[in-house]
């Protein structure tokens, strides 16, 4: 440390509080979880170190692979939808519209409702006997009888995606909107004078400028979707026939059953996937050059 002059050392004071909080309340539990994943940590058996035993069991576990496939497929469908809708809403709210403030508050509502509750709303919407979804389609004449939304794998998957997109698109909207506000209006004005149409302005001028914000939204939506839990827990609990069990839900069941080692190993693998995907995003987008 003495090698650093006082001046060089100063910037680190600015990030010290950040590191203290993260190390105490995230890193410490993570290190613990990593250790646990190398143990046979089952409440009803003596603890012992088994190194990669949990992982090798996991690789042979059909239920785990199924949940992993579901989770990745879910991300591949839900995240692009969220980004698309969120950005479109943000672009809209960035314009000079009447009642803009009210519109902004409206768009944020889904995200403001705790997911433990919003999942319940969707449960009611999809309710077979008196839910809103069946009420609408039968009264609009789209279907003869009620539809068993959660009854088929495709239907349950779509139901979960819709509920999740509804809940999280506003997150993207808020991020992108603030990013758009920081784009100098003169630039767009200039482009307009150069006879670019509004689509061209958006894609050629605005979008590249908000790339950092878009990347952050994409990163955090991906990471968050990898952990999807609440909506599924309430809507299907993994059904029908285990087709909608996410990896988090799978880990949760093992924690509940007292097998902390196995559950931790699932978490660590999920983490590895998240890490790999983030590295990929950052590499492809050349994020370093943006800072």
């Amino acid at each position: 440390m003495s090698v650093l002059s006082k001046k060089e050392y100063r910037p680190y004071y600015f990030i010290a509080p950040l590191l203290v909080f993260i190390c105490l309340f995230i890193l410490l539990p993570i290190v613990g979880t990593l250790f646990t994943s190398l143990m046979r940590d089952v409440t009803f058996l003596p603890q012992k170190f088994i190194f990669l035993g949990n992982y090798s069991d996991l690789l042979r576990d059909e239920g785990f692979w199924r949940s992993m496939r579901f989770t990745l497929f879910f991300i591949a469908v839900a995240v692009p939808l969220e980004m698309l809708l969120g950005t479109a809403f943000a672009a809209l709210l960035d314009m000079e519209l009447p009642m803009r403030g009210f519109l902004r508050a409206c768009v944020l509502i889904p995200w403001a409702i705790p997911s433990a509750i919003s999942a319940k709303i969707w449960q009611l919407i999809y309710n077979y006997s008196y839910g809103l979804a069946n009420f609408l389609i039968t009264h609009l004449g789209l279907s003869q009888g009620p539809v068993n939304w959660l009854g088929s794998e495709g239907g349950a998957f779509a139901a979960i995606v819709i509920a999740d997109v509804w809940k999280t698109a506003p997150f993207v909207t808020l991020l992108v909107l603030a990013g758009l506000q920081a784009v100098p209006h003169d630039l767009r004005l200039q482009a307009k004078i150069d006879r670019a149409n509004f689509a061209q302005i958006f894609f050629r001028v605005t979008l590249p400028l908000i790339k950092p914000v878009l990347l952050v939204a994409l990163l955090f939506r991906t990471i968050d979707s990898l952990r999807i839990f609440d909506v599924i827990y309430v809507l299907t609990n993994g059904g029908p026939g285990g087709s909608t069990a996410s990896a988090s839900l799978y880990a949760y069941k093992y924690f509940l059953g007292g097998d902390f080692g196995y559950g931790s190993a699932v978490s660590v693998l999920l983490f590895a996937v998240a890490f790999g995907m983030s590295c990929l995003y950052v590499k492809v987008s050349k994020f370093e050059s943006e800072i």
């Binding site: 519109l103 008196y130 920081a182 784009v183 983030s278």
Partner: protein, 274 residues
Amino acid sequence: MKEESVKKLLTTLTAVFMIGFAMTPFLYMLFTSVNAKPDFLEAGWLFTLSHYRDVLGADSLHFLDYLKNSILVSAAASLVTVFIASISAFAITRLEMKGKLFVLFFVLAVSMFPQVSMIGYLFKIMTALGLINTYPALIMPYIAWILPLSLWILVSYFSQIPKELDKAAIIDGCNEWQVLFKVLFPVALPGIFSTLLLSFIFAFNEFIFALILTTDFNARTIPVGIALFEGLHGQIPWGQIMAASVVTVFPIMIMTLVFQRHIIGGLTKGAVKG
């Protein structure tokens, strides 16, 4: 002219879709909260305010305690988070520092861990500190959990702001803190307010930590509080839950309406021209 009308049509369509998409489930929730039974679509309307009376009036539900806890915990967590994240983002985007990319990625990486696997360790930490069922037991982990997101958002906003701005300020004789508070903050205000709002909502929505780290209405927050409404065999008092949710959404609506002025107005054109 043709382009203008296409644009207008597109805008209107998006706006209609957006409102429908965002508001339909909310309105459904609102209607359920004022109906005697959740099957009002099929069985007919039965208007009542009794659910609101139950939720706000019954002492044993402790709904107002939960609401108070939620607001205080989320406000404290989000304010501290945004402050810490701002100074860190400032250091990362504006100061000469080795390993800034490492810090960014380290923070991002740790935020990827599934919460459910860590809760056992957090419980042990909080038990050791004697903080179970207190505000700090929630506020501190929330700060740590929201920091990565806040940091990344603020880094991305700060990096959008032309560096000439603070160079000019430094030439004028400002030190780092002055550059941060007098130059960057006013320009980055939309970003800072949206981060504050996002952080607040994040803390407001959190469930698992609150479930395990609190034990009663002295510190429990809304999401867990509402989970306490159900009956032993899963009887769901839809009306009460929806009434509680509607009441819960109001603080956030008000915050958004207050903040959105700043989200728009924070940016002065002159400043960005540089």
